[in-house]
Amino acid sequence: MLTNRSKVVVKKEMNFWERIYLPAIFGGVAVTIKHMFRRKTTVRFPEAKREISSVWRGQHVLKRDEKGAERCTACGLCAVACPAEAITMTAAERKKGEEGLYREEKYASVYEINMLRCIFCGLCEEACPKEAIFLTDRIVPTDFQRNDFVYGKDKLVEKVNERIDVSVRQTPAVTEFKKHKSLSHNR
């Protein structure tokens, strides 16, 4: 009664037509038969995929640079930014002769994202100073065991010869921002 929005429920005595059920049944039957000829909402998944927004946030990728070296330096900013605490990593120092593998002196020897915890908010991507982690338009597939949802570097880092294009997801504002080479972020 405080909000004046409460409704008084009245349980009325049914009249004759309501009591013989038939009009209601015919009404219901008409509704269902109409639905039979409606457009179906099912998407036959593996063959057809649901249309998604251009900025849709799906499974993560750890990018490599142009030469094929991993961009991630295990700074941990993504893990700090993550509201679901889904990211863990272990940092390691680059040895001699590994310059082709890792871009900078420090790299992530272990990098794990728990896909069951992840809420796909994209804060890790925003936090990353090295443009290493991006969310892509890929869907995280289902699995049978909880362990299998903890994605390690084997699943996250893109293959050297199968690069994953993330430019589609960048909004015009971001691409504009990236053009300014003088800003420290873009160096």
Binding site: I25, H35, R38, T42, R44
Partner: protein
């Protein structure tokens, strides 16, 4: 004698196969109809449009682990689904699928057996059908199964009365119990020899009959014996593998047979409009008639599914009120009206 036996055996085998095939594909149709009414597509993985789905389901049923509960009554546990299946198949014997086909001067009837107590036989077999459910539910030694069985028996007995009274009104009008004769009386339909289907004369009786048929087949809105929300799985809670398959299969066969009985009694059986005006030979009329009856039966099977995916389940007291306080007085009224009009109009 030998020729007669071969003809009967072939007929039995054909009708048996058709019944089983229709029952198998009813499971597929049920899922498809449900899906379409809910704006989905339904099973479409096994073969084109999923038409091999019944085979896959059947294989699954056969290969599933067979569990017989330790505390159950083992013999009756096995007898239950057998009785359900047996009675479901027995009722189909009397359906007249057509008049006669003359091959080589001998007239072959498309009906396995024309008993002169026809409809009463069907009725008797249907009333036996409840034993399958009761035995299965009791022998499982599970309270939910037992409750399901008890509900089934109470429901089926209550609705059998109204069903019988609805049939009595029809028999008053037709003056015969034989399904074949009832079919023949409705011959013609629209076209020359204006004889209407019985549904025109017996709309109330038809309505009562079809509601009772829903209840006898344990179909929604009367599927309280297997009401999931209250009874887990009802009388077949403890069943697994092909025994569960038998119960589910029996339900679809029952549906097929009751659709056939409804079409025969009220919708002209194997007769179709303009059948006497097309100038066809007797054999062609019979074959087209069989197809017409099949189409009618399929429509009613669809109607069963249509209702199932439209109307929610009744509450148990509503079910009993509808049966005893609604349908039985209506059926008695119907008998009275039919008797009055039969005398007044001198019909038959």
């Amino acid at each position: 004698m030998i020729a007669f036996l071969t003809y009967k055996i072939i007929l039995v085998l054909v009708i048996f196969t058709i019944t089983l095939a229709v029952a198998a594909y009813s499971t597929y149709a049920e899922r498809k109809v449900a899906a379409f009414m809910q704006d989905r597509i339904g099973p479409d993985r096994a073969g084109p449009f999923g038409i091999f789905q019944p085979l896959a389901d059947g294989l699954k049923f056969i290969y599933k682990e067979e569990i017989i509960p330790n505390v159950s009554n083992k013999l009756l546990f096995i007898v239950g689904p057998c009785v359900a299946m047996l009675t479901a198949l027995m009722a189909g014997v009397l359906i007249p699928w057509g008049d006669t086909v003359t091959i080589g001067g001998i007239a072959y009837s498309l009906q396995i057996a024309d008993l002169n107590v026809g409809i009463l036989y069907v009725f008797g077999v249907v009333s036996i059908g409840v034993y399958g459910i009761m035995i299965g539910g009791w022998s499982s030694n599970n309270k939910f199964s037992l409750l399901g069985a008890i509900r089934a028996s109470a429901q089926m007995i209550s609705y059998e009365i109204a069903m019988g009274l609805a049939i009595i009104a029809l028999i008053l009008m037709t003056g015969t119990l034989s399904l074949k004769e009832i079919s023949l009386q409705q011959a013609g339909g629209v076209g020359s020899h204006w004889t209407m289907w019985n549904v025109v004369y017996q709309p109330l009786g038809f309505l009562i009959f079809i509601v009772c048929a829903f209840a006898e087949c344990n179909r929604t809105p009367f599927d309280l014996p297997e009401c999931e929300t209250e009874l887990v799985g009802g009388y077949h809670t403890e069943y697994s593998s092909m025994k569960l398959g038998f119960y589910l299969f029996a339900e679809y066969i029952n549906m097929f047979v009751s659709s056939a009985v409804i079409s025969t009694l009220y919708f002209g059986g194997f007769n179709f409009p303009f059948m006497n005006d097309l100038g066809l030979t007797q054999n062609w009329i019979t074959i087209l008639g069989a197809i017409a009856l099949f189409a009618k039966v399929l429509f009613f099977v669809f109607f069963f599914m249509w209702i199932r995916w439209t109307i929610p389940r009744f509450r148990y007291d509503q079910l009993m009120n509808l049966g005893w306080k609604g349908l039985i007085p209506l059926a008695i009224l119907n008998i009275g009206l039919t008797g009055f009009f039969t005398l007044w109009l001198g019909h038959k």
